[in-house]
């Protein structure tokens, strides 16, 4: 494992020539190649070494110069296989470069490889993939959560200093929480989605994993440039949060955090204890907590599984064995070939969601399900807007439990309920930072909470998240 705990440490060492980009790269590739946790789908060793060499020649300027990172395999990388964690795209080599990959490499970061995930981002355990589940490095009896589980693991195991995941219903915050990392889901529309294989377009957002909020700031500064290829990105320019954190001397926690205590009551006892402890400690440091009510959040899971699956059923249509993806040769006719290719190419969970979404949009049901869900989605957004009139942030659990045991068998519905606390944030398009805090008294696994900010208050949230993280350390 690398001696560097985070991006900033490594950046200083690179800058002071205590280590070269190449050496740093080799260290991380070594961990990746040990492959203890089934993290990577595709390693890009030659590519990484080449890039590191270039960085060494050029010298260290940016925070991300020479920093090894990994990408969830939903991010398009030109000429590098991109599978979406699916048999469907087992051999897909994209002919173009995605914006996030481009931005990070442009900022000097060194891509070590593409890491696993639940197929097309659909899952909360990183098990729904033909590439096999990924281990939680700190206890191999457990799973890292999903769908961006392998991204979290690559940071935790030391094969990357940061990783990009995607968060559609909690797919970054949940694994971050299970792995004791910081996971940051930006405001919907803050980061370009161009070159990110779509699961649910109105919810998907590229989201980084790192060890600290300062690291998150450095990543966010690099991936928030305007991208005219994504019309849903707000054209408000790149963030400049890292230097603000580094130059800030004001450590005061002058913030009001809203909390709906019924959410904490719903958590398992060990998690509840840890959350209450964090609140107590923050109060001690001067944070004001205010009781709020978010009455419509209880419908979140239902709303999410209608909207996300509806969009997914349309987004995944192109994987039909004709244009893209696994193609069965045994079809009697076109229709049959579609059916066979998709039946074999997709894993169970994807099929379940595509079928559900197809049903939700079908004529006669669309109003009842899809349109109705959109209306409730607005109510959830309104709940938050009402709350933000009284507070700067909303405090929420990330998950009612800690990481799942490998032998724990959950029904799909039980699995879906694990996203109860993360989903509302996606539905309302808000930014949220999952911050690790403490350990479970039950199994010593990491616990934590999330701080939810208002739309496009990303910079504020990262700056304040940094302060909160530092006082709780």
């Amino acid at each position: 494992m690398s001696e560097f705990k985070n991006i900033y440490d490594a950046h200083l060492a690179l800058k002071n020539k205590k280590i070269s980009a190449k050496e740093l790269c080799v260290e991380h590739i070594k961990v990746a190649k040990e492959n203890k946790n089934n993290t990577f789908i595709t390693l890009t060793e030659d590519f990484a070494l080449e890039k590191a060499k270039k960085i060494d020649e050029k010298g260290i300027n940016n925070h991300l110069d020479g920093i090894p990172f990994s990408l969830k395999d939903l991010f398009i990388t030109k000429n590098i296989r991109t599978t979406a964690g699916s048999k469907m795209l087992y051999n897909y080599i994209p002919p173009y470069e995605g914006t996030t990959s481009d931005n990070l490499q442009d900022a000097g970061a060194v891509l070590i490889g593409k890491v696993g995930c639940d197929e097309f981002g659909m899952g909360s355990s990183n098990e729904n993939t033909p590439f096999g589940p990924v281990n939680l490095p700190i206890n191999n009896d457990y799973l890292p959560g999903g769908s961006s589980g392998a991204s979290a693991v690559s940071v935790l195991e030391g094969s990357s200093l940061f990783s990009m995941g995607t968060d559609t219903g909690g797919s970054v915050r949940l694994p971050a929480n299970f792995c004791g990392l910081v996971g940051y889901k930006p405001t919907y529309g803050r980061v370009s989605r161009y070159g990110q294989i779509a699961y649910a377009s109105s919810l998907d957002q590229a989201s980084p994993f790192a060890k600290t909020p300062l690291d998150i700031a450095m990543i966010m500064d690099s991936i928030t440039k305007n991208d005219e290829k994504d019309s849903t990105q707000a054209p408000i320019g790149a963030m400049n949060s890292a230097s603000k954190i580094l130059n800030n001397t004001d450590k005061d926690l002058k913030m009001t955090i809203g909390i709906d205590r019924s959410m904490i009551e719903g958590c398992r006892e060990d998690v509840r204890d840890s959350l209450n402890q964090s609140i107590k400690e923050l109060e001690k440091k001067g944070v004001k907590f205010k009781d709020i009510s978010l009455p419509h959040l209880k419908y979140s899971v239902a709303v999410y599984y209608v909207i996300a699956t509806s969009e997914a059923s349309s987004n995944l249509a192109r994987f039909d064995g004709v244009h893209f993806g696994y193609s069965s040769k045994n079809g009697k006719d076109l229709e049959d070939s579609y059916a066979l290719s998709r039946s074999i190419g997709f894993h169970e969970e994807v099929k379940r969601r595509v079928l559900l979404g197809t049903f939700c949009l079908s004529s006669g049901y669309s109003d009842e399900y899809y349109s109705h869900a959109c209306k409730v989605r607005k109510l959830i957004y309104d709940d938050f807007q009402k709350a933000f009139k009284e507070c700067d942030y909303v405090y929420s659990p990330v998950c009612a439990t800690t990481a799942f045991r490998k032998d724990e068998i959950l029904t799909p519905l039980q699995m879906y309920m694990n996203d109860l606390y993360t989903i509302p944030v996606n539905l309302a398009g808000l930014p949220s930072m999952a911050i690790p805090y403490g350990k479970s008294s039950l199994n010593s696994l990491p616990t934590g909470f999330q701080l939810i900010g208002n739309s496009f208050k990303d910079e504020e949230l990262i700056l304040d998240g940094h302060k909160v993280f530092e006082v709780l350390k």
Binding site: T82, Y92, G98, A198, A317, R318, H323
Partner: protein
């Protein structure tokens, strides 16, 4: 068709917009270019790609909306129409289902009797074309050059009663598209396609019958034939007391019959969903005002202007203005003409010129007989230098060679003979030779005058001035 029934027709027109680039990407629009060459990651629907709205396509749709008296939706939305087909790479078509950019427009049709009928336009929506499939015996090929071509779909209300009205409307839309320069509007080339929805109801009834939809008609002739076929097919069914099924049909150009593509009971369910990758389309008053101010002259305005400025009949103006290039040709000729024989010019354009141009399927912009040639010809007649008969004869030569009429007349010595004494000698000869006709004419049969003039023409190879000739006949016979 028995006349027990009244026909009710509504149509949908798809027109490709001639923007520089495709609807959602920067690919050049070259449908007939090298196969699959004008394709990028967006229009080939590579995973992870997103569409970006082509502003020019939006402007073109707005222009069409303004030209057809539509209300413009200040905010309109894109939707996805989901279905699987190999020439649809995304697995869905981006269209405007719930809230189109333009709605509630209309267009006036004027029939040959001058009667005006208003055809209501329900909506004009922006969407995209698919790729092109070509089917062979045991395989099919897909060309994506066309995929993502911006389209407008124009949907009318069921306001048509006859095929003639439908084709007149199509011609009118076609000419508007060309005048606005937003589409080539060519049915044969597939720039414009028409779907016909048709039903019958007993005369005097207010309740529409069950309709069928005939898809993708690509010529005026096909539209007429398909309508005729559906009218009689449905009438036969109704006469037998059978039911017309709500079906989507294809027209077979070879047999003139329709065949079933699908029946609505097992209709495709398109599972429309708002397009999450595109924002709502906002149009400001300012945008609309600017487009309105810069709207090119439309066919109707041009017709009115021609009637007013050139004093030609409205019917002439309608014919000439139905095609923008023809209208330009006529207008240029009029501007070159020093007199006021505009009606003569219009006659030559409508009859002789159109006949040759249509026969040769030629483009009036590039023919050898330019407006200048035509004006010279008309002026030669007006000044009495040549007869109309001679003019008609040399017209084809001018058309074929591009030689000037004056040069041809001079070269061949075709100038009209207006020398009274010379003609008088000939007239005397003719009178002498045809005593029977002389009696007839004297007894009041005016038609016989034509005979004498004709005989003189024959004698002079058409060069005798017909007016002088008939005057002489009158004088010599003392009529």
């Amino acid at each position: 068709m028995s006349n027990k029934y009244e026909t009710v027709i509504g149509i949908e027109i798809h027109a490709q917009l001639n923007t520089k680039t495709k609807a959602w990407c920067n690919c050049e629009l070259k449908i007939n270019g090298f196969e699959n060459h004008y394709v990028c990651e967006v229009c080939s629907a590579q995973p992870g790609t997103l569409p970006v709205v082509n502003k020019q396509a939006v402007e073109y749709a707005l222009m069409l909306g303004l030209a057809t008296d539509c209300n413009i939706n200040k905010t309109s939305f894109y939707d996805r129409k989901n279905y699987f087909y190999p020439d649809l790479p995304k697995g869905y078509q981006i269209t405007q289902f719930h809230t189109p950019i333009c709605k509630d427009g209309s267009l006036d049709l004027i029939d040959e009797n001058g009667v005006t009928k208003k055809i209501r336009i329900e909506r004009i929506q922006l969407e995209e074309d698919t790729g092109k499939s070509t089917h062979y015996n045991d395989y099919s090929l897909v060309n994506l050059n066309r995929a993502g071509t911006p389209l407008v779909e124009i949907v009318t209300m069921p306001d048509f009663k006859t095929a003639k009205e439908v084709t007149n409307f199509l011609k009118k839309i076609q000419s508007i598209l060309v005048y606005l320069d937003v589409s080539k509007g060519n049915l044969q080339d597939g720039n414009m396609r028409c779907d016909v929805n048709l039903s019958l109801m007993p005369k005097g009834s207010n309740t529409f019958g069950t309709r069928t939809e005939v898809k993708n008609l690509n010529s005026f002739r096909s539209v007429e034939r398909a309508i005729a076929h559906e009218q009689s097919r449905q009438a036969q069914l109704l006469d037998k007391g059978e039911e017309v099924l709500q079906q989507t049909l294809l027209f077979d150009v070879d047999t003139g019959a329709t065949r079933v593509l699908r029946t609505k009971s097992d209709a495709d369910d398109y599972r429309y969903i708002p397009e999450p990758d595109l924002l709502a389309l906002s149009v400001t008053e300012e945008n609309i005002r600017k487009l309105k101010d810069n709207l090119p002259e439309l066919p109707t305005d041009k017709v009115n202007r021609f009637v007013k400025d050139f004093k030609i009949p409205k019917y002439d103006a309608e014919v000439i203005c139905s095609e923008k290039k023809l209208a330009n040709y006529f207008e240029e000729a009029c501007s070159l003409h020093s007199g006021n024989a505009y009606k003569k010019i219009s006659n030559w354009v409508m009859v002789e010129l159109l006949k040759l141009v249509n026969e040769a399927k030629a483009d009036v912009e590039t023919i050898k007989l330019t407006p200048k040639h035509l004006v010279e010809l008309v002026e030669l007649i007006e000044s009495g230098k040549i007869s109309g008969k001679i003019a008609k004869e040399i017209f084809v030569e001018v058309y074929d060679t591009g030689n000037y009429p004056s040069a041809i007349v001079k070269e061949k010595g075709l100038e009209q003979n207006s020398d009274s004494s010379e003609i008088e000698e000939i007239v005397k000869e003719i009178i002498k030779a045809h005593p029977k006709e002389v009696e007839e004419l004297k007894s009041g049969r005016d038609r016989v005058m034509g005979f004498f003039v004709g005989q003189v023409m024959k004698k002079t190879q058409g060069k005798a001035n017909p007016k002088i000739t008939s005057d002489l006949v009158t004088k010599l016979l003392d009529l």
